[in-house]
């Protein structure tokens, strides 16, 4: 999956599920301090990873997420791993 498509899908999660304003969707935005997520939202973010991207990151990877860009990078990494090699 193209990185731009991944980023767009991640953005849609934040717009729809967490009802953030489009203007808040900056890569450096802190999920908790800037976008207002909390512990329950973090669970729902993980659930949305599974449903939207069919990925199940490790707890240590999830705990390292701080910014929106961290989310983009995590999903991209998983998709790179899953990409077929020819």
């Amino acid at each position: 999956m193209d990185a731009n498509i991944i980023d767009g899908k991640v953005n849609q999660i934040f717009l729809k599920l967490f009802e953030v304003d489009e203007g808040q969707l900056k890569p450096e935005a802190n999920l908790y301090e800037d976008l207002g997520l909390d512990s329950l939202d973090a669970i729902d973010l993980v659930i949305s990873f599974q449903r939207e991207f069919q990925i199940k990151p490790e707890n240590s990877e999830l705990q390292a997420i701080r910014t929106l860009d961290d989310v983009y990078q995590l999903v991209r990494r998983y998709h790179d791993k899953a990409a077929p090699t020819h």
């Binding site: 967490f18 009802e19 207002g36 909390d38 329950l40 939202d41 669970i43 729902d44 659930i47």
Partner: protein, 409 residues
């Protein structure tokens, strides 16, 4: 501490007849019905009733997301009604957040639509976690309204979840009253809520307790105490009353609608669904005893009156035993159906209006009284003018749960 008096200082509701007190009362006096046809219930099979009393046009999207995410429709209705009641009582944020402010709130089910979605997902996917998110349980749990209210309004005193179905909000008012009376709390946000979901008429349908003969004329059912009644119409909504220590309410210059003078709740224990005339009589007598008044002082009985075959007969006989045949009696379920967990509080709010206006709302659609019902002073046709100083209000629930309140001007 000697027993304290308890004042009602604020009301809020969301109902099939609107969410504003004055227009709600005007519709009651005018005989407006909130019952509508439910053609979407014909999409499945098996359901005989096709009428209900929904809250039309409700929008809970104004509730902040991090509160709303744990709310099914039922809790959104409850929070909306409670916000109105707090504003009506002119309670400051400091008083709402005071640790001597509590919540007593009930319902029949938790978030029925959230539970339904979860089970639908299991059925569709055979995966037990597919339809779940972080707040699914918070929407479904039986005390979802009370807990969501506490978070939404930052209430820090005790939370009582009186989830006893159709008597839930009458018990909630009673438990709030007792907590203030005995000095445990100074203020309690009391009430109940219910959301309309096809599962509720479904189970009442199986019990042959729903109205089915008026599907083509929804505005003419349910018909409490009428010879041609044929069962309940399920409604939805929420209501909240603010109860306060009477002296404190006077001291802060609060508007006082009425006083909660007495309360009693008991259990029939003879059967899960068959009403007991003895149990109903005892609960009304218990409320009058708690109020310290004679039955002759009751100016009006606001009946549970659901329009079921045996429930109305039993209640009428119990009312006859307690107040005789001359005290005006009516049920409001002809207007807005059976709001289940919300019915007791919404009907109590209507009683506050009747006390203020000195007139009784008649039972809608009561043309010919069932001869099997006791010969009471049924108010029918037009509103009945006259002093309404003391009201006896009944609610009865499956499980043999009975609850009665005495309200006084």
């Amino acid at each position: 501490m000697s027993a304290r008096r308890v004042a009602i200082t604020g009301v809020g509701l969301v109902s099939p007849l609107g969410d504003e007190l004055e227009s709600f009362l005007a519709r009651l006096y005018a005989g407006v019905s909130g019952v509508v046809a439910m053609p979407e219930w014909a999409e499945g099979t098996g359901l005989a009733t096709r009428v209900a009393a929904p809250v039309q046009g409700f929008d809970g999207s104004g509730i902040p997301r991090q509160q709303r995410r744990s709310m099914s429709r039922i809790s959104q209705l409850a929070v909306t009604a409670t916000g109105k009641a707090i504003r009506d009582a002119d309670l400051s944020d400091a008083l709402v957040r005071d640790d001597r402010t509590g919540i007593a709130y009930g319902s029949t089910m938790g978030g029925t639509s959230a539970l339904g979605q979860y089970f639908a997902s299991i059925m569709a996917t055979k995966t037990y976690t597919e339809g779940v998110n972080s707040t699914t349980f918070l929407q479904i749990m039986s005390h979802t309204c009370a807990a969501n209210l506490a978070v939404a309004f930052n209430v820090q005193g005790r939370v009582i979840a009186s989830c006893v179905a159709c008597a839930a909000s009458t018990q909630a008012i009673g438990f709030g009253y007792e907590a203030i009376k005995h000095g445990t709390l100074d203020r309690v946000l009391c009430g109940g809520a219910e959301e309309l979901h096809v599962a509720i008429p479904g189970v009442f349908d199986v019990l042959r307790a729903t109205s089915t003969k008026w599907n083509d004329r929804p505005q003419e059912t349910p018909r409490p105490f009428a010879a041609d009644r044929d069962g309940i119409v399920v409604g939805e909504g929420a209501g909240t009353v603010v109860l306060e220590d009477y002296a404190a309410a006077v001291a802060r210059g609060a508007k006082i609608y009425a006083e909660v003078l007495g309360f009693h709740t008991n259990t029939d224990s003879n059967h899960m669904t068959n009403p007991s005339v003895d149990g109903m009589e005892k609960v009304m007598r218990g409320a009058l005893r708690d109020a310290g008044i004679a039955a002759s002082e009751v100016d009006y009985v606001n009946a549970h009156g659901t329009a079921t075959a045996i429930g109305d007969v039993a209640e009428s006989k119990a009312i006859e035993r307690v107040v005789g045949r001359d005290t005006p009696v009516s049920s409001l379920k002809g207007h807005f159906g059976h709001m289940m967990g919300a019915c007791g509080v919404v009907e109590s709010i209507a009683c506050l209006g009747m006390i203020r206006d000195a007139r009784v709302v008649p039972t809608l659609h009561l043309d010919a009284v069932d001869p099997a019902c006791a010969p009471l002073a049924y108010v029918k046709g037009a509103p009945r003018p006259g002093p309404v100083r003391t009201v006896l209000k009944n609610s009865f629930a499956f499980g043999g749960i009975n609850a009665s309140l005495v309200l006084r001007k």
